[in-house]
C-alpha cells in the first residue's frame, strides 16, 4: 500500500482559493515522483467549485462538512485533520503558506509529531531524501532543509508553484462526511473585508508607491495604474508610517513578502528591508528620479525620471494595449 500525500485545501466563502490549486498541483507532482497516493481534504459547508479539483490532477477528495465550518476555526480544523490523518498512512501534508496555512500547519504538525517546513520555494528530488528550500532572513539567504520525522508537513509559498490543469482528468471522487459538534473553541465570527481591494499577497501584478509620492492624495496615480493592470497597490514602510497607506499594503521585511509576475516600484528607494519583501518577483520595474537608487540594482527595467510625469503616461499607454 502506498503512503499518502494529502493536499489540504483552503476555501473562503465556500469557494476554493487559487492557492488550493497550487497545493493540488504540487502534491500531485510530488506524489508521482515519490510513488505516493495523492488525495485532498477540504473543510467547510457547500464548496461551489469543488468539481475543479480533478482538473489539477487529484481525483480523490475528502470533504468534511458542517454549516458552522464555512468560516475557519483552527480548533475544529486541527481536530478533523489530525483524526483523519491518524487513520491513514500519511507521509506528507501540504498546505499553502497563507494566513490560514501558516496558522494551521504547525498546529497539526505538533499533534502528530511531524516536522514542519514553512514557505518552501523549491524542492530537490535528486538526492537520497527530498530537500526543501525556503527563504530566510527575508530572502537575503536560502536554506536547504530535510526532515527527520516520519510525517512531514510543508507549506508552499503562494504564486511559486503554479496550479496546472492536466489533460484528461479522472472523474472526481468526493467522500463527503458531516462533522457532528465541531470543536469551535477558537473560531472566526466575522470577516471584515477590505473594500473591494486585491491583496498584495495574492496579486499577480503589484504597483507600489513610496515616499516619492509626496503625499496620500498622489496615490491616485498608483491606483489608476493598478486599475488598468488589474493589479494590487502596495507601499513602502515610509508611506505606511507616514499614514498614507494601511499596513496591510506594506511590502517588505516587516510587511508582506510577495512574488508577483510584475512588481512596479514608484518613488521607492529600495532599502534592504523593502527589497527583502519583493526581490523574488519575476519582473521588477523601477521608476525613480535618482539614478543611484538601490532599487535599480534589482530592477529588470527602469525609468530614471519624475513619477508625476511617468505614471500618467504609463497608465494611458497600457489603456491602449488593453483596448
Amino acid at each position: 500500500m502506498p503512503k499518502y500525500i494529502i493536499a489540504i485545501l483552503e476555501q473562503r466563502e465556500n469557494k476554493l482559493k487559487k492557492i488550493s490549486f497550487e497545493v493540488i498541483s504540487f502534491s500531485k507532482s510530488l506524489s508521482e515522483k515519490l510513488g505516493l497516493e495523492a488525495a485532498a481534504i477540504v473543510i467547510g459547508d457547500e464548496i461551489d467549485n469543488i468539481s475543479e479539483i480533478n482538473n489539477y490532477g487529484i481525483s480523490k477528495v475528502f470533504h468534511f462538512k458542517n454549516k458552522l465550518l464555512s468560516n475557519y476555526s483552527v480548533s475544529a480544523y486541527s481536530d478533523i485533520i489530525t483524526e483523519f490523518v491518524k487513520q491513514l498512512d500519511v507521509e506528507y501534508l501540504v498546505l499553502g503558506d497563507t494566513s490560514l496555512g501558516k496558522d494551521l500547519a504547525p498546529r497539526i504538525a505538533a499533534r502528530i509529531k511531524a516536522g514542519c517546513v514553512m514557505d518552501i520555494v523549491n524542492i530537490n528530488l535528486s538526492e537520497e531524501t527530498p530537500i526543501f528550500t525556503r527563504p530566510i532572513y527575508a530572502g537575503k539567504a536560502l536554506v536547504d532543509m530535510k526532515f527527520n520525522s516520519d510525517i512531514k508537513v510543508v507549506t508552499i509559498r503562494p504564486n511559486v508553484f503554479k496550479g496546472q490543469k492536466i489533460d484528461n482528468p479522472n472523474t472526481l471522487n468526493i467522500d463527503s462526511k458531516e462533522i457532528q459538534n465541531p470543536n469551535l473553541k477558537t473560531r472566526v465570527i466575522e470577516i471584515k473585508k477590505a473594500e473591494g481591494k486585491l491583496d498584495v499577497a495574492e496579486a499577480d501584478i503589484i504597483v507600489s508607491g513610496g515616499r516619492g509620492l509626496k503625499g496620500p492624495e498622489n496615490f491616485s496615480l498608483v491606483e489608476n495604474l493598478a486599475d488598468v493592470l488589474g493589479a494590487a497597490v502596495g507601499a513602502s514602510r515610509a508611506a505606511v508610517d507616514a499614514g498614507w497607506r494601511s499596513h496591510r499594503d506594506q511590502v517588505g521585511q516587516t510587511g508582506k513578502t510577495v512574488s508577483p509576475s510584475l512588481y512596479i516600484a514608484c518613488g521607492i528607494s529600495g532599502a534592504i528591508q523593502h527589497l527583502a519583501g519583493m526581490s523574488s518577483s519575476k519582473y521588477i520595474v523601477a521608476i525613480n528620479k535618482d539614478k543611484d537608487a538601490p532599487i535599480f540594482s534589482i530592477a529588470d527595467y527602469g525609468i530614471v525620471g519624475d513619477l508625476f510625469e511617468i505614471l500618467p503616461a504609463l497608465t494611458e499607454e497600457i489603456k491602449k494595449i488593453n483596448s
Binding site: N71, T98, S99, C116, I189, Y301, I318
Partner: protein
C-alpha cells in the same frame, strides 16, 4: 493575571547576511543583534495587559548568553523579570517551542504573547507549536485584542481583510504590526532593568524534527535596463513588458 512574553534575539533587519564557513549558519562577525521587531509589539501588549488587569509579566528567551541583551531590553520597557533558557546548539522551531513549553508549563500563564515571526528564520510557527504543547488556544497575526473575563476577541490580518476570532484564556497571541505602538525604554526603566532578575536554566536535550543541510545566497540578479529618463520612454517600457517579459 499571569502573563509571559517570549522574545528572540535576531540580526538587525539592515544586516547584510554572510554565510558562515560551515554553510549551516550565518557568519556572526559584524552582525548587530536586536530584539525581534515583532516581539516589541508582544512586549508592549503584555505590559498593557498587566496595566489593565494587574499581575506579573515574565520574559522568556531561548538562546545563548547574548540573548540576555534582548531580555534586558524587555525588562527596560517594563517587564518584571526574565528567564534565559540557555542553549548553545542551534534548535529548530520545534526545539524552541519544546523548551518554552517545558518552562511555561510550570508557570502556567493566563496569556502568552509572542511575535508573529522571528525575522531571522521567518518561520512564524513557534507560537502555534507552543500552544499545542501546552494544550491551550492560540490566535496568530493579531492586530486588535480585547480581553473580557475569560473571553478573548481578536482581529487577525488575513489576505484581503481581517478575521474576527473568538476564543478563551489561557491563550497564546502572536502579534502583528498595527496592534500597538511599542513604548521606548525610559532612562529610569533602563536603570531599573539592571536590578531585575534574569534566571538562567539549561535547555534539555530535544531532537530536531527538521535539519538544516546548507544555507546559501540566492542567485544574484543582474541589474536590468534603463529604458529612458522621462515619459518618452513609456511606450518602449510597455512594449518590453508586453512582448519581451510577456507580463502584461
Amino acid at each position: 493575571m499571569k502573563i509571559a512574553v517570549c522574545v528572540s534575539h535576531v540580526p538587525d533587519t539592515a544586516t547584510k547576511i554572510k554565510i558562515g564557513a560551515d554553510e549551516k549558519m550565518i557568519d556572526p562577525a559584524g552582525v548587530v543583534y536586536i530584539i525581534n521587531p515583532y516581539d516589541e509589539f508582544a512586549v508592549e501588549e503584555s505590559l498593557k495587559t498587566k496595566e489593565k488587569f494587574g499581575g506579573e509579566v515574565i520574559a522568556v528567551s531561548v538562546g545563548n548568553d547574548n540573548s540576555k541583551e534582548t531580555i534586558r531590553k524587555s525588562l527596560a520597557m517594563g517587564v518584571d523579570r526574565g528567564i534565559l533558557l540557555k542553549c548553545d546548539r542551534a534548535l529548530d522551531s520545534y526545539g524552541i517551542a519544546k523548551a518554552l513549553s517545558e518552562e511555561l508549563k510550570n508557570y502556567v500563564p493566563d496569556i502568552i504573547f509572542m511575535g508573529k515571526q522571528s525575522v531571522d528564520y521567518d518561520d512564524a510557527i513557534v507560537g502555534q507549536l507552543t500552544s499545542e504543547m501546552l494544550g491551550i488556544s492560540c490566535i496568530t497575526n493579531v492586530i486588535e485584542l480585547k480581553i473580557d473575563g475569560q473571553k478573548i476577541t481578536a482581529e487577525r490580518e488575513i489576505e484581503g481583510g481581517k478575521e474576527v476570532v473568538e476564543s478563551e484564556l489561557p491563550i497564546i497571541i502572536t502579534t502583528q504590526k498595527g496592534l500597538n505602538e511599542p513604548r521606548y525604554a525610559s532612562l529610569k526603566g533602563i536603570m531599573a532593568a539592571k536590578k531585575k532578575e534574569i534566571a538562567e536554566k539549561q535547555v534539555g536535550d530535544f531532537s530536531n524534527l527538521t535539519e538544516v543541510l546548507k544555507i546559501k545566497k540566492p542567485a544574484e540578479k543582474q541589474p536590468g535596463r534603463i529604458v529612458g529618463t522621462d515619459a518618452s520612454a513609456v511606450p518602449e517600457l510597455v512594449r518590453l513588458l508586453h512582448e519581451e517579459a510577456k507580463v502584461i
